[in-house]
Amino acid sequence: MDNKIVEKKLSNGATVYLYQDQTKHVTHVSLGVRMGGIDRGFILDQKEHQIPDGVAHFLEHLLIEHSSYGNLLHVFAEKNLSSNGGTGSLYTRYYFSGVTHITEGIDILIKAISIPYFTEEDICKTKPAIIEEIRGCNDSKMRRLSNLVTENLFQKIPFVSVIGTEKEIESITYELAKACYDAYYRPSNQILFIAGNFDMDEVLDTIENAYASIPEPTTSWEKISIEEPLEVKKKKGLIQMPSGTNTVQVSYKVSIKNHSPIELLKLDFYMSYFLRMNFGVTSKIYNDLLTSGTITDGIGFVHYKLGDFLIIDIQAHTEEEEIFTNAVESVMKTPIYDEDLFDLNKRQEKIDIAVRPEKLGSIIHPFLENLLSLGYPYLDTVEDVEAETFSEFKEMIQNLDFSNNTICIIEKEEEKK
């Protein structure tokens, strides 16, 4: 039986989504806030605030570690609820899962996140762990590469990394944290997603009662949008660090500003098919580069939405930077559209969607991505995929502009003699 997601809009502006599956033993609860690493500024009660890197992530730590209940990780653990938080480029998520104490957990989560309790002292206490986290990321090849790519992609939006630098974290003040909180953490900017085995009425009552106890925000706010041009900031970047191999990544910045949520959903599927077709195991470039010894492993590829752009990353471990990047650019200029492979990919996607209900995680993550990244408040269905056509696929991809990219390299650092 395919379960549907039920949507409930609350009077305070928060939206609740519920996916009930009573064949499961577990319930997952996610509270999402539309504030991520890419958010740069806002106006709160007519005062403008700029947000450096790391603030969204910092707030996540602050609210978890210094809630009115204490450290939420420990509070939930006492009730046998596994919990954590995560901050991405576009949103922040607080979540827990468990078998018992679900409604208690929901009540605590809503109140802890929606009623700020942190002090100036707590701002200082939160910093050391994040600074250690930053140092850890500086030792991570993939994190360093990701930061370099983001830095090179954006001209006007000064976004490099979700967690920021040590200097940026040290500069966070109570005033800035409180202003960001007051702007972004209002109920109208939140969503709740409950998935698993729960009593619908009981959960809805708990949510409504919890939010009823939260004072309405009295401030007005709006996000400051930054008009980001299509051209990348820098065409090339290089970092040297300890590594077994060189890694080269070609990242494309593609405008999707005028795409509607349903178009973004379709594009999400079509881009997966396109990348597999042109860079996957069945592609000419993969076979040519492997045979010639240019690459030793596969070609990695991923796409994601960042602001008004679709970012496409194509990566390989290779010492032959020029050969690899020329090959990638050549494919992107004249890509292949194979109808047989399209049909195979489409069938694979239908199967993946049909088996999703087996694992709650396979429902939660795609839905939250659809909702918070694409603005599409539904779970993709087999019927959505069934409706895809080869001609639409070709047209949507061909309408994209692949002329802007940046090439970023992680180069092996020479060992000290």
């Binding site: 653990a77 046998n80 994040i130 140092r135 500086n138 300890p242 191999t245 471990h317 069938r347 199967i351």
Partner: protein
């Protein structure tokens, strides 16, 4: 029909069918590279589909969600675990079970071999890919440090039997060597078969008779010990300092259980949970919440080796404080009152975990395999054994938990 050969676990709770084949084997040290390369050569191409492209297309046509082969070790026993995952016919609305299993069996028993060796081009690709992965692993702070610790704690040669310690073997192994290894351990050998999902007994038996059991190959016996308890590296604790080009520094404490026996496993597990379990989490509370020394500190337990590691990534200026904090945490384990309270909480946490795992088909399938071979017991049984112990038992057990090695890798980049 060989009904007793197939281990079928029929369940309607999932939408996929898992077919797992277990090939036990024993390899010598000089066969390490061959034994690790072999699985890669079996699931990317075959005689019938000699290119990755044709093989992958066939995987998609057969609606195979996953097809993989891994080398596993439990103590001194090694085996290949081959896994096939397909949607069940109620999801797909077409019959693919026989086609998918036939494809898998064909790949396993008709591999991409030319003149008594694996296809040279494919072999070189797989070897280069592994070389690349190993080189990257030993360059990152975790891989480098972990292998450095293994060097120090491994008094048997068991743990360092990995590619990171045997890169020269990976460089020199040939396609013929790997095929020789294949002939000894897969060709003409029948695997143990486990099927998990919504499938009728008669139907699956019929398919397996036509495919896996067709040639009536013999099965290998699993007869090696499932443990390899390690002796202490030296009478006194070994302190090893190292440096590396990293922003963080790595601190690890390796403990070994003196005269480790099977019945000590629940207690070792309890110590691990006290240090790292959600509702206890002594390490996190001490090193992060109380002392601001880490982003994360964790412990890892090696049941088969009678070992426990505590690891933390720190700033080098905090080395002394971190060492003190770790030993303070270990001392806390001797506080009976505290441990009694925590044991009650952890017991409930474990009970809840067992409920959660019922939603995880891979956990359930692995559990059945573990029970069949005697690698482990059912989660409910382990639960009973674990929670019969008291705080007194834990504190007494701690007398046998000896600090074997302290490893410290200082990051030279000093957070810059």
């Amino acid at each position: 029909m060989n009904q007793s050969k197939t281990n079928l676990y029929k369940t309607e709770n999932f939408r996929t069918i898992l077919v797992q084949l277990i090939f036990p084997f024993i390899s010598k040290k000089e066969e390490l590279a061959a034994s690790i390369l072999l699985p890669h050569l079996l699931v990317h191409t075959s005689k019938k589909y000699p290119t990755e492209e044709s093989f992958y297309k066939k995987i998609m046509e057969n609606a195979i969600l996953e097809m993989s082969c891994y080398r596993e070790r439990i103590g001194k026993q090694q085996f290949y675990q081959v896994m096939l995952e397909i949607p069940d016919e109620f999801v797909l609305k077409e019959e693919i079970l026989e086609k998918a299993i036939s494809f898998l069996i064909d790949a396993l028993y008709q591999p991409n071999v030319i003149e008594d060796a694996f296809n040279e081009d494919q072999f070189q690709l797989e070897r280069k890919s592994l070389q690349s992965r190993v080189k990257n692993n030993v360059k990152n702070i975790y891989g480098y440090s972990y292998n450095a610790i293994l060097d120090l704690v491994d008094t048997d040669g068991y743990l360092i039997e990995n590619l990171e310690h045997n890169l020269e073997q990976l460089d020199s192994v040939t396609a013929k060597d790997v095929y020789t290894f294949y002939k000894k351990n897969i060709q003409n050998i029948e695997p143990y078969v486990f099927v998990f999902g919504n499938v009728e007994t008669q139907k699956i038996e019929k398919i397996l008779e036509k495919t896996v059991y067709k040639n009536q190959f013999p099965r290998k016996i699993i007869d090696k010990p499932f443990t390899c308890y390690l002796e202490r590296a030296a009478k006194e604790t070994i302190y090893k300092n190292d440096t590396g080009p990293y922003h963080q520094s790595y601190l690890a404490y390796a403990f070994k259980v003196e005269d480790m026996k099977e019945e000590d496993r629940p207690l070792l597990s309890l110590v691990y949970r006290l240090l790292t379990g959600d509702c206890s989490n002594l390490l996190h509370k001490k090193l992060r919440d109380e002392k601001d020394l880490v982003y994360s500190a964790k412990s890892t337990v090696f049941h088969q080796n009678g070992m426990l590691f505590i690891m933390a990534l720190i700033h080098r200026k905090n080395k002394e404080k971190a060492c003190e904090a770790i030993m303070e945490t270990v001392e806390q384990l001797k506080n009976k009152e505290l441990i009694e309270t925590l044991l009650d909480k952890l017991k409930e946490e474990n009970r809840i975990d067992i409920e959660k795992w019922k939603d995880n088909k891979h956990f359930l399938a692995s559990e059945e395999i573990d029970i069949y071979f005697g690698f482990d017991q059912r989660a409910e049984e382990l639960y009973k054994q674990r929670w019969q112990h008291t705080a007194e038992d834990v504190t007494r057990f701690l007398d046998r938990l000896k600090l074997d090695v302290v490893y410290y890798l200082e990051g030279e980049k000093d957070g810059q």
